[in-house]
Symmetry: C2
Subunit: 417 residues, 2 copies
């Protein structure tokens, strides 16, 4: 079964507002086994909407429009569907009366234009909207379905789940399953090279994207049923795991900080941070995780160089001789975080995020990261590529991934010192 999505609303086109309804519908339809083959954004005019509906309806089994069902003059989806399907638009007087009653019961004035929400193309059905005034519209056309849903996300989702899912479940005829694997500490090209031959596996589509926390391998499997699709995914997931080992750190929505938290809790251990160039970003990333107070103690943001000494205990003479961006300062920050915040592990970060401040010796993108534990302190000197935001972002992810790997160790040190 193939679906096309049409998002209606000039603000989507003019102001770059993200079509989040379409994102949600795509994922939800995939889980039902329906493939989305085209998505369009169109403005509020009847001709554009109607032309999109005609184009979609000629190739898809299911067309879902979102938006343009409100009471204002800009809401033209009803007319456009009627035009596209060559059916007259008719007012459902029974629904109009009910709508008027709803308004009056709440003490709100029922303006004449509100009644437009009771219009629908001849021969179509309502999809009940239990939390708003605009119901969805369902038109059956030569075996395919054209559906209009309101643009307000909670209303759209509710009508989809309650009105549409029951209709679709009998029609789909295939299963789809989707999963993403998150991969840390690797470059896209090298991951691609290592597992490329696995992509060709029967019934699986794969793509590698760069996500917020590293490389993401996105997989979409098809099968006669959802169970079969999922079994294919499990098989590929297993084979990728054999090749990439601990580089695969999470699946789907799990974050790196959640994984680190899980590992720390298992050891009954805690962590703390001392950040210079990342300025609190590592602490912020960690504390996005609910329950992080169970394993994250706190941190020091040591942006000014004198604070590296007064807050984190870096020796001022060493700082003066080696410079703030140096291995010895990173190590002292990690130890200072651990000691001042009374934690089991301490992460120290110092570097040049740019755009200014670089020198031939210490270029923009140079970062020193140190990880202090009870037994030893590891250190990494890295050279990040990218703008200020990327340098910072990649650095905090790198640091957290190193802690993850250290927590997985059972065979002794893998780092330095």
């Amino acid at each position: 079964m193939k679906a096309e999505l049409i998002a209606v609303g000039s603000e989507l086109l003019r102001f770059g507002r993200r079509d989040s309804n379409g994102d949600w519908l795509t994922e939800r339809l995939q889980r039902l086994g329906v493939e989305v083959t085209r998505r369009s954004l169109v403005g509020d005019d009847v001709a554009s909407i109607a032309s999109a509906v005609r184009a979609a309806q000629s190739t898809a089994d299911l067309v879902v429009l979102t938006g343009g069902l409100g009471p204002t003059e800009d809401d033209r989806t009803r007319e456009a569907i009627a035009l596209a399907l060559g059916r007259p638009l008719e007012r459902d007087e029974e629904y109009a009366t009910r709508l008027r009653g709803l308004f009056e019961a709440r003490g709100r004035t029922f303006k004449p234009e509100q009644a437009r929400q009771a219009d629908r193309p001849r021969g179509s059905d309502w999809l009940d909207n239990p939390i708003g005034t605009a119901p969805g519209i369902l038109c059956r056309v030569d075996g395919s379905l054209v559906v209009a849903l309101p643009g307000v996300p909670p209303e759209m989702r509710r009508i989809f789940e309650e009105g549409l899912v029951p209709l679709l479940s009998g029609r789909v005829g295939q299963g789809l399953a989707r999963r993403s694997l998150k991969i840390g500490g690797r470059f896209e090209a090298s991951v691609d090279e290592q597992i490329r031959d696995l992509y060709g596996l029967d019934g699986i589509e794969a793509t590698i994207l760069t996500g917020r926390e590293g490389i993401e391998l996105h997989l979409l499997a098809t099968g006669a049923t959802t169970g079969e699709a999922r079994a294919r995914l499990d098989h590929l997931d297993h084979r990728v795991g054999e090749r990439l080992g601990v580089d695969v750190f999470a699946r789907d929505d799990e974050t790196l900080a959640q994984v680190v938290g899980r590992l720390l809790i298992a050891k009954g251990a805690t962590m703390a941070t001392a950040e210079s160039c990342t300025g609190g970003m590592l602490g912020s990333l960690i504390t996005e995780t609910p329950g992080s107070s169970g394993w994250f103690r706190g941190g020091l943001i040591v942006y000014g160089d004198d604070l590296k000494c007064s807050l984190a205990g870096v020796d001022p003479e060493i700082l003066a001789s080696e410079g703030a961006v140096s291995e010895v300062v990173a190590r002292a920050l990690a130890a200072g975080a651990r000691e001042r915040c009374r934690s089991d592990f301490g992460i120290g970060i110092t570097g040049l995020a740019g755009p200014g401040g670089g020198t031939p010796d210490k270029p923009v993108g140079l970062v020193h990261v140190a990880l202090a534990g009870e037994d030893r302190t590891d250190h990494w000197r890295i050279r990040q590529i990218g703008d200020r935001h990327l340098v910072r972002r990649r650095t905090v992810v790198f640091a957290l991934d190193r802690l993850r790997r250290r927590l997985l160790e059972s065979r002794g040190p893998e780092g330095s010192e």
Copy 2:
């Protein structure tokens, strides 16, 4: 002049990858005076692409496709355009020879399928690609233009700027100008009510969105020329400013932290933070700004309650009696940040970001923010709505906006104490 954008690539549909080329092209075309009236995402199959091209070409003056120009079997944009326009696909042997030369000069093998990048529909022109192997394709069809650009963003942008902009500038026939105003410390509905009557101004489209740093008023103006459109924007901008006053804190890409930095630099003053529930997010937001080391000293992430005392100097007895989420602790954190980091202003934040940990007295979303300066400490007790991420995000924006307002003061205190 009207344009339609078609993004080609199954990964855009299947895995929710954002069509960032389309976002970029929309904004860039608007600046040239070209309105984007439809955007589509289509998969890699010839029929879908061709159907999208035909639909677009029947209504738009300019159709821009991105993606699908590479050398692999999945790259079908060339064939699809030829099919849609009813023209044969022909190989440009001269370009194929040049391409082979390019490969050989770099010591890379020229595989036969690479030559596909030298195919184009009969009667079309190349748009030179100075940084990649796939040139753009330009087809003139009955006065409209159908253009294909590679999907690699830097190549797409370069060809657009160098090959397409010179062609468009003579054809546009109208001017567009776009601007966004960022509004702090206000709710969407109240801003809407206060300025709604201004939206109707001739030749201006307006929409209110919720952005990362508060409410954003997005404006798009049309005029006979770009200058006229911009003059309309300036006029509306001025009138909005009269009504909203200091609530408007920035325009377009300027961030709240940049504005605060500017104001601090003007006073020769510095700031520091002590964060509990936001865990470093405020420090991170501030240090995203290049040059923030000139006015941001550093901060304390006091997640564990004992660290509120040992790092920021909160009295343990008061903390025990009042609780960590209290006015007195927020004030002590602000003062502690200021003192320990030796800054002119200190911000203290303590609250319950959720989802767990709420009580009837201190519900999830309750946050205390304090701002300490030389002369006084202000305090706010706020109740944030939303999930953990939103509570944290809105809190750091709120705190920074309060500092901005304090720096704008010239008529004495506006806060409390």
